[in-house]
Amino acid sequence: MLPPPARRARPGRAGLLLLSILLVPALPGCRSGAGEPPGAEGPHRGGVAVLGSITDVDAWNEYVSAQSFAVGLLRRIHLRLAQELGDAAEHPASFEPLLAESWSFSDDRLVLTFRLRETRWSDGVPITASDVRFTWRAQTSPEVAWVGADAKRLIRDVVAVDPRTVAFHFERAYPDQLADACEGGILPEHVHGRVPLSEWRTHDWSAERVGSGPFLLERHSPGAEIVLSRNPLYFREGAPRLDRLVVRIVPDAGSLLTQLLAGALDYVEGISPEDAARAGTAPGVRIVAFDVPQFDYVGWNARRPPFEDAAVRRAMTLAVDRSGIVEQLLRGYGRVSAGPLLSFWWMKDPGLEPWPFDPARAREILQARGFSPRPGDGVLVRNGRPFEIEITTNAGNRLREAVLVKLQEQLRRIGVVARVRPLEMKALRQKVSSGDFDAYLGGWRFTGKLDLAPVFGSDAIPPAGGNVVGYRSAEMDRLLAALREAADWKAMKPIYAAIQRRLHEDQPYTFLYETQRLAAVGPRLREADIEIPADPLARIERWWVAD
């Protein structure tokens, strides 16, 4: 008979636990100290990069989600037919093939045909034209109510010609056809098709993990962590370099930065200019600033006196020190805006300079329009009525609230009394769309193609459209119509230039500043370059970590 095992010789559970506690800080995954050693010399495969984010993913379906962060991750899971590149400064952005290996237009440009790459979903099922058609049906479904559905407005039908050929039929030819066709990731019909379109907005998509991109969703612990792992069936050989991508959700910007400095995070996007200044001095931390299609403005209600007069609106713009706002509030991470066509877009008019900060000229214009300073307090008065306005913005946006205070102070210097009134978003939207405002500070964030007609056309004054300031210009209407008819981007360029000059003179809005987005990259992470501003994670398959 064998003797009983000598229990005392083995560490008990408590001992094992104690040993574990002592060992945990020494494990490779437990990075808490700053300044990792540089490690490997060149790019290599493997490793885990840890990203930090303030927001969590709201839905694992691009057509239900409304967050740019979520869409940025989903683009790594469900590829588009082609990827828009960031080379749009001199000409419309070119496209890099993804699920499509090539494409061609019919002679009349009404049909755009894609030849699909011979590749598979992560579960091994081939990616076919039927998936593309299914995705288009979902994109245009009123029940799904995708916020980007406008890009598909002129697509009449999508036909699966054969398993690897799909044809997009358009209502008419126009310059953005390719961009519109490629907008949105292609979904697996055999997975997403199991859920009726009417239930897409109330379905938990985190369980549907089949993808075509470099990464797949491995785990999502809401509010805590997202883990994406390499897709073994990704069509590009050797990509991605990282084994895993971990996203840590930390809802406080200061804590995010602290974790980056402590070495617990490798990449944090969307940090404030103040934090960038702090992080930039840390050893090995790199700050990357990149342009985003977004700008802030003040809209003047042209249906209310005195803003029905373009000269008065120009005077308002001259009174605002936009360079000062960029320097002081954005710490230089931005540009003074000359108009709605951003300075890094091919449509911009390079010869157009923003109005300067010139309060003396602003005063002259207003005096020429019948305003005179009231003795004592210097407030401008016309026909016995003081120049008093209310400027509103959405409450909770710290930058805009700070800008509003600056505006108030600068307008007061030319004799205009501005009352500032931050409002909750819905209340602001109702106030603005009903025309019940003097001026409001808002912003535009472009997520798809640019369409100026619903914002500046006379026929787009609410309730018909989004021309909330009530701007009317016959010349603008003519230019917008000409833009619709333009056959290609070369024909559009002079029209865009004329539109910008008209807006520059009329100033229905004071275009304040274009903001840059900032990312902090930790010492371990390499080749984390942002080539496509609209999609900062586009090149994530090239990222690697030095361990």
Binding site: L17, A224, G254, A264, G442
Partner: protein
């Protein structure tokens, strides 16, 4: 006692439902909608906006939405759908509750252990240097806001001397480790937030214990124990401390709701995925079913916590038990 328990438990239901109703309707009638929060600055046509509202049932009147929510809750135990997280509310709560229970449980343990220890030491060395030093320490910890203490703890113990991780609940890749390491990893990540949360609350408790202990030390039964020649240590720990801790039991019961409500500041600073953050983010996103359900859960726990405190006190103190019995004429 049984009648008391049944009566108190029965009162919990309408009280908790009333509170959840108040929260739901007050938020419902506040300006704004989850769709506005969701879309922000995006130039989205009104038609699309209305379709999204329809998909979530947000196009119906506030009262109708509330009645549907309360009806589903009563009939099917369904807490509704979270618009901001695209998941059923019950799952959202089930994900946030365990981290909060862990953090708050650990913090509560730190809170009472440190509070009682510091209070007892202060009382033992009353008027001495140690007592004065502990008084200053307690005042400092009590006066400092939780988020500041948390940031300082991270600065000192994660950045300057990297002893603890600066946030999160586990290390990267920990899910593949053997269970003792996983457990130790969670303990390692919990130590700093629980320490900060617990020590902040321990400050007040230590002053409370000190005062209670000093009062008890002056009682007749302590003097009589001393007269009988009992050892000082026994008098202090067995007779005085035990009696002085009875009010602390009550305090502990009232602290139970903190187990589920979580600490917003600590959870935000440490990136801890608990109930405090969930409720805060749901309020910002105007995700009413999550806010109302979280409130309902907290309300039930507050009531149960207070009931548990009463029962524990009755069990611990015979005088309370006697007082609860009807007096015969």
């Amino acid at each position: 006692m049984t009648r008391l328990l049944v009566g108190r438990l029965a009162a919990c239901v309408p009280l908790a439902l009333g509170l959840a109703t108040l929260v739901y309707l007050s938020l419902e009638w506040a300006p704004g909608s989850p769709v506005d929060r969701m879309l922000g600055d995006r130039p989205v046509p009104d038609e699309v906006r209305q379709r999204i509202e329809r998909a979530y049932g947000l196009d119906r009147p506030a009262l109708s939405r509330y009645l549907a929510w309360i009806g589903d809750l009563a009939l099917r135990g369904d807490l509704g759908w979270s618009v901001s997280r695209s998941q059923p509310v019950s799952r959202v709560l089930a994900q946030a509750l365990p981290p909060t229970l862990l953090l708050s449980g650990a913090a509560l343990a730190v809170h009472f252990a440190a509070g009682i220890l510091l209070g007892a030491v202060s009382a033992r060395y009353r008027g001495g240097r140690l007592d004065r030093a502990l008084e200053w320490l307690s005042l400092f910890l009590y006066a400092m806001p939780g988020f500041w203490l948390a940031l300082m703890a991270i600065l000192c113990l994660s950045l300057l001397a990297p002893v603890f991780p600066p946030g999160s609940m586990r290390s990267v890749g920990a899910e593949a480790w053997p269970w003792p390491l996983r457990l130790a990893d969670v303990a390692w990540h919990t130590a700093l937030p629980a320490g900060v949360l617990g020590l902040g609350s321990a400050a007040a408790t230590s002053r409370f214990v000190r005062a209670s202990l000093l009062e008890t030390l002056g009682e007749r039964f302590v003097q009589s124990a001393r007269a009988r020649g009992a050892r000082l240590r026994r008098i202090f720990f067995v007779h005085a401390l035990r009696n002085a801790l009875l009010p602390v039991v009550n305090l502990a019961g009232l602290s139970l709701p903190a187990l589920v409500s979580g600490s917003l500041a600590i959870e935000v600073v440490f990136g801890w995925p608990g109930m405090g953050r969930l409720t805060y983010e749901a309020i910002l996103a105007e995700d009413l079913p999550v806010v109302a359900s979280g409130t309902l859960l907290s309300a039930i726990l507050v009531l149960l916590g207070s009931l548990a405190a009463d029962v524990t006190l009755a069990a611990a103190d015979p005088r309370v038990r006697c007082a609860a019995r009807p007096v015969s004429p």
